[in-house]
């Protein structure tokens, strides 16, 4: 089976046949194609069609490792990139933090293809724009709605990794994403509500637009935006917090995913993304959360944002527990970080494109279900707030003190859902927050979601990561609303 374009295969074959001498090299070819469409207040934004094709060469020579990225894929262009990578490897050999002989080698041969039921091209440009116009019109329910946007887009990334040890990994990723945003304004208050798949990103084809209910969701989204401007502020104080899966994705992301990244723990990210309150001695013994907390690294969930066969170092991907029954088991660290730290990790050395080297990233970081239904979780709350859909996120450089804001809040009193509140937010400390986990929804309540803007690294990289979770109940959390 050939997954990537024959053109990429030919380039790789040509390079490999005449590759210069080095202890080890990898060539990662990426051909990314994107299309973005949006309609705002019944006016189509300029339709865009983007392609980015290039190569990342990594060369290990003696004690050094270096990389060079180039959009020149000709034999001469790749040879020149190889030479630049070799020069960088020489710098690393002289001044490097570690001996590059630790660098992982791969001879893996593997393939992966996103599950696609209905290809993006199965509908014409006119059909897609027509759908977006209809959705945008569907948001136009009241004069208090001051802006309406409907969008959809497709990104395909064909990736071919070949190595001097005979490794060859072909992967094709397809992502289709849609969304709606309605902004309402009244009485000095502005509120935006999103939906239509906006917080439901995944791999796949046009079936993702149907899953996001782009057209059907318009009236709900607009109605909820209006309801929010009219709602009272979320009350401030300590109380129980019930987070739905959309907000759980962000909570997992910021206060479990990032702290467990092994390159943070090793200090690589201290100047930019930060370090971690987690230290190497904690693995195997540290109580991260209550016994209800079970978190997995699972890059094989069909359709989840960061499912793949192997990472960008060529390490095969498999499901492992990061936290089991509340106890921290292993970090998110690729093969190189594992060797540097002397810890067992995961297949998560990932790059955001051909122009960046792999670093430790999240992939699919999922919170495993327990047994309760949503109604049962609500029923156990005497006084608290249900929150959904992240709109604000901030956390300290050790990934401890966080503050998150949501679009949507509902009071819970005496085990029943009550009125809507606006500007709901909460803050806490990761090291304590997860120990207050007192309820985890059952398998039928799990939703597969993720984030598309996970930023990290020097130079900077933004990647997609998946998060599946049921709703979760936390006790005694600091909750607040808006206003000065």
């Amino acid at each position: 089976m050939t997954i990537v374009t024959t053109d990429l295969g030919r380039i790789a074959k040509s390079f490999a046949a005449a590759a210069p001498n080095a202890d080890y090299w990898t060539l990662r070819l990426v051909d990314g194609r994107s299309e973005a469409l949006a309609v705002r207040d019944e006016v189509a934004e300029p339709a865009s069609l983007d392609q980015s094709r290039g190569a990342m060469l990594t060369v290990v020579s003696g004690a050094g490792v270096g990389y060079a990225a180039s959009s020149d894929l000709s034999p001469a262009g790749l040879r020149a990139a190889f030479d630049r990578a070799l020069t960088a490897a020489g710098l690393h050999a002289r001044l490097g933090l570690f001996d590059a002989r630790l660098h992982p080698r791969s001879s893996l041969r593997a393939e992966y293809r996103s599950p696609v039921a209905e290809p993006w091209d199965a509908q014409s440009l006119e059909q897609k724009l027509s759908l977006l116009f209809d959705a945008c019109i569907g948001l136009d329910i009241d004069r208090r709605i001051v802006e309406r946007i409907a969008w959809m887009g497709h990104h395909r990334s064909d990736e071919l990794l070949v190595t001097s040890d005979g490794g060859r990994i072909e992967q094709r990723f397809d992502f289709v994403h849609s969304g709606l945003a309605a902004t309402a304004h009244a009485g000095g208050q502005t509120q935006t509500r999103r939906g239509g798949g906006a917080d439901l990103p995944a791999q796949g084809g046009l079936e993702r637009v149907a899953a996001g209910r782009l057209l059907e969701d318009a009236e709900r989204v607009a109605s909820e935006a209006i309801a929010l401007v009219e709602a009272p502020e979320c009350p401030s104080g300590r109380g129980d917090l019930l987070l739905l899966p959309s907000q759980m994705a962000l909570q997992i992301h910021e206060s479990i995913g990032h702290p467990l990244e092994l390159d943070r723990i090793l200090g690589d990210e201290r100047n930019y993304a930060g370090l971690s309150f987690v230290t190497p001695d904690m693995f195997g013994t540290y109580r991260y959360g209550s016994s209800l907390l079970n978190v997995t690294f699972d890059p094989r969930v069909p359709g989840e944002l960061a499912s793949y066969a192997a990472d960008d170092d060529g390490t095969p991907a498999k499901r492992v527990h990061l936290i089991r029954d509340g106890i921290l088991e292993r970090p998110l660290g690729g093969a190189l970080s594992q060797r540097r730290a002397g810890l067992t990790g995961t297949a998560n050395a990932r790059a955001c494109g051909w122009h960046r080297p792999p670093i430790d990233r999240m992939a699919n970081i999922n919170l495993e279900p327990n047994e309760e239904g949503l109604d049962e979780l609500i029923g156990r709350v005497e006084r608290g707030v249900l929150m959904d859909t992240n709109r604000s996120w901030s956390i300290d450089d050790s990934r401890n003190k966080f503050q998150f804001g949501c679009e949507w809040g509902r009071l819970i009193e005496d085990g029943e859902l009550r009125g809507l509140v606006r500007n709901p937010g909460y803050r806490g400390v990761s090291a304590r927050f997860w120990r207050s986990l007192d309820g985890v929804g059952g398998r039928e309540t799990v939703e597969v979601r993720g984030v598309r803007n996970c930023g990290k690294g020097e130079p900077n990289q933004s990647v997609y990561v998946g998060h599946a979770s049921p709703p979760c109940l936390f006790r005694d959390v600091e909750i607040f609303g808006g206003g000065r």
Binding site: P46, S48, L49, Y67, L95, S124, T183, G188, G267, D396
Partner: protein
């Protein structure tokens, strides 16, 4: 390859594409070029070394009131690039009849030309990196060296020909004492002078000596505070996130709605401008408009002007004054607080070197949350007393830059962005420090 070579090759490519146009078609072509060395540090050693060479071509094809956009990566080979560009143009031409008229289509019909070249005197990356590790010997230095050429070009079938190129370096680093105890350094520009770096690292060593003292943990509450220019950058960046875009104002989403509606005023010392004339970022927009020297955003505490990109200009019938709806070259006017008076005027409170991870708590109230980070200290009776345990603030900019702003410093810092998400950024800010009578800490 010389600057002239890059520009001439791009303009030649654009000319050949213009020759392919049919009927009333109009073509705008843009180029984003980068040749960068990136070297990461950890523990004052090289963590990851490499480089990136890229050349992104963007095309906007227009006919009557319709437009479509596309981009591809060029290879550097003339014939291959012409084939890539022709293929992209053909695909855009196929799509053009399928999109509706765009009432907000807005390009400059006035042909214009410009060329800006900011040269530099830089050593090879390896030489600079070796010097950094030598000067920081004994320190736990972590960060990144970025250097090389970046260029943006614009050519249109209407006659626009613009080129903006710079060669620069950006060393963004921090020196750690233990866990999250660190001081930040940033040095960037066009001329590499190791003695300048040596001075900066020496000052970091002095700060680290204070950082070694037992840390001071403060309870949530309101504290007097001095925000160094790098900390002010986080607040000004927040203002730029939705604060000035014309569309954000007309759709009532701006966090500065109450300021724009004259319901509140900031301190009269707050005068904020977008200084397009600074020259680090291109003065032309992708649509061919030439930007004014300066756009007053806040004038003596009162809202001034919105930033108007080409699309919003057409929609709301205003003049274009920005390429984007957020500032790229913001400048806050200086005050009268002398550098040697800062600690005495602060008295007892927080000296905050950097704020980090800002986000809106409530846009309606212009309320921001974020964290203290590098180089933050507790000050006692005008003296740096102890490192500050990281704290979360949650406060309204209407207060921090309003009735709680006591003074701005006389000296300002020019800070070049180290951002590299979309290639090496050309953004910069010119900011003073600020003395605040009360900053609300929440956690």
């Amino acid at each position: 390859m010389s600057t002239t070579d890059h520009a001439q090759r791009f303009f030649a490519l654009a000319e050949r594409l213009n020759g392919q146009l049919q009927g009333a078609e109009v073509l705008f072509a843009g180029l984003d070029l980068e040749s960068s060395d990136f070297v990461r540090f950890n523990q004052n050693r090289v963590r990851q070394a490499g480089g990136v060479q890229s050349a992104g071509l963007s095309l906007t094809l227009i006919e009557d009131e319709r437009q479509v956009e596309g981009s591809c990566e060029l290879t550097g080979d003339g014939d291959a690039d012409l084939a890539l560009a022709r293929d992209l143009l053909a695909r855009l031409r196929e799509r053009l009849p399928l999109v509706p008229d765009d009432p907000y289509l807005n390009v400059s019909n006035v042909p214009a030309e410009s060329e800006t070249v900011l040269p530099a005197d830089l050593p090879p990356a390896g030489e600079a990196v070796a010097r950094v590790t030598e000067l920081a010997d004994g320190l736990d230095l972590v960060g990144i060296w970025a250097s090389g050429d970046i260029a943006e070009g614009l050519a249109s079938s209407l006659g626009h020909r613009h080129w903006h190129q710079s060669t620069s370096f950006n060393l963004d680093w921090s020196c750690y004492l233990d866990r999250d105890k660190a001081v930040k350094g940033a040095w960037s520009g066009f001329a590499w002078d190791p003695s300048e770096l040596a001075g900066r690292i020496d000052r970091q060593r002095e700060c680290l000596a204070v950082m070694a003292r037992p840390e001071r943990t403060v309870e949530p509450g309101r504290y007097r505070a001095f925000l160094a220019p790098a900390a002010m950058q986080e607040l000004i960046d927040m203002l730029g996130w939705g604060g000035f875009g014309l569309r954000d104002h007309r759709t009532r989403q701006t966090p500065l709605r109450a300021l724009a509606d004259h319901e509140v005023e900031l301190h009269p010392g707050v005068t904020l401008s977008e200084e397009h004339g600074r020259g680090l970022a291109p003065r032309f927009t992708p649509e061919g408009f030439w930007l004014p020297e300066r756009v007053p955003l806040i004038d003596r505490g009162r809202f001034g002007n919105c930033l108007v990109d080409a699309r919003s200009a057409r929609e709301y019938d205003e003049s274009v004054n920005a390429a984007l709806d957020s500032p790229q070259s913001a400048a806050l006017a200086a005050g009268d607080l002398a550098a040697d008076e800062i600690l005495a005027r602060l008295g007892s409170g927080l000296y905050i070197g950097n704020l980090w991870y800002g986000n809106w708590s409530d846009r309606n109230a212009c309320r921001v949350t974020g964290m203290t980070r590098f180089g933050s200290f507790w000050v006692e009776n005008g003296e740096l007393a102890a490192p500050l345990a990281v704290m979360r603030f949650d406060d309204s900019l209407y207060g921090l830059l309003g009735d709680r702003l006591e003074a701005l410093t006389r000296e300002r810092e020019l800070i070049l962005s180290a951002d590299t998400y979309d290639g090496r950024s050309t953004d910069s800010v010119l900011l003073p420090g600020a003395l605040i009578s009360g900053l609300d800490l929440a956690l």
